[in-house]
Symmetry: C2
Subunit: 174 residues, 2 copies
DNA sequence: CGGAATTGCTTCAGGCCTATAATATCGCGC
DNA sequence: GCGCGATATTATAGGCCTGAAGCAATTCCG
């Protein structure tokens, strides 16, 4: 098990490293997120979660998927189903999305961007991307590529750890 | 202005890079955060914000600072003052922290870890660190060092951008 | 000294988020 | 056809979070 050896070596080499790294990651993420939230609110009078919903619906439509179900949306946005109900309700109030029962399955609701929603999103998208570009602007192209790769490895590491926990829980049950 | 040149070069070289990177950063951060929240809840019946408050108070006491004011706490935790009021109120209810008026300044409240709070924190801290160590466990020591450095540079980039915005706003006012 | 601006904190409305429970519908096997 | 587990969604309680408004104590300064 070379992975475990690596883990132990890293632990010996630099205790507390992970915790420090995690706090720094969280702080970076929160710093950017707060700024984006605040600007979306000031410039466009919209919240980040609502913007995310519009962006996901638009992304789906570019993949020729016209409208998403509540479950599919909550999976893509990584929020709980219950949370989405209120979020979509507010977006429907604002006429930015529509919600309609599926003809195939009376349980499912299909959420779509309205014309107003698409127009609003198209106005926001380039400005939003400009903000991010500017916030990240002092990172060189190499740094960005490196950071992207490392975050990919971190994501894999987390997923592996979570999968292992799952297995252990199942073993415990048997 | 070599910084601006770098910025433009990066833009030409890889448009949309920053946005992709940002989404990946956010997704990593949320993945870990959600897991930590859920475990704190299951294992210790506490929320992440409350845990953060206890950890900050403990960190301060290690720097020989006995107790923090509401403002100092909200600055360290990077949350608004109004938010902290309710959070501390709930922690006081649980007897994990105490809150007392300052003798020097009758406006300020001084928040301290209680013995119960310190005991609870000491029980949680190593377990919490173990979770993080395991989630990050597949990253080599080199990867961790690289990631740490890159996140540091990202943080600097964001701060520089925010500072520039500030300046522009001030110019606009004059 | 005595306002005036500042600082520290709380209150409030609005919104996001989770976990849990409840409701409705679907699909499958008998 | 009928029941039953699975699936899709909503409802609810509790908590976190922000921005804005407001109150009280302090400090600044003429």
């Amino acid at each position: 098990m070379s992975r475990t050896d690596t883990k132990l070596a890293a632990l010996r080499a630099a205790p507390h490293d992970s915790l420090r790294l995690w706090l720094r990651l969280l702080s970076c993420s929160n710093l950017v997120e707060r700024e984006v939230r605040s600007r979306l609110r000031e410039e466009f009078d919209i919240t980040l979660p609502r913007f995310d919903v519009l962006a996901q619906l638009d992304a789906a439509s570019r993949d020729s998927v016209q409208g998403l179900t509540m479950s599919e949306l909550s999976r893509r946005l990584m929020v709980t189903n219950g949370n989405l109900t209120g979020l979509i309700e507010r977006l429907v109030q604002e006429r930015l999305v529509s919600r309609a029962a599926s003809p195939r399955d009376r349980r499912t609701q299909i959420v779509r961007l309205t014309k107003k929603g698409k127009t609003a999103l198209d106005a926001m998208t380039p400005v939003h991307e400009g903000w991010i570009e500017r916030l990240f602007g002092d990172l060189s192209a190499d740094d960005r590529a490196d950071l992207d790769a490392l975050l990919g490895r971190l994501r894999d590491s987390v997923r592996v750890a979570l999968a292992e926990e799952e297995e252990e829980e199942e073993e415990g049950e048997s």
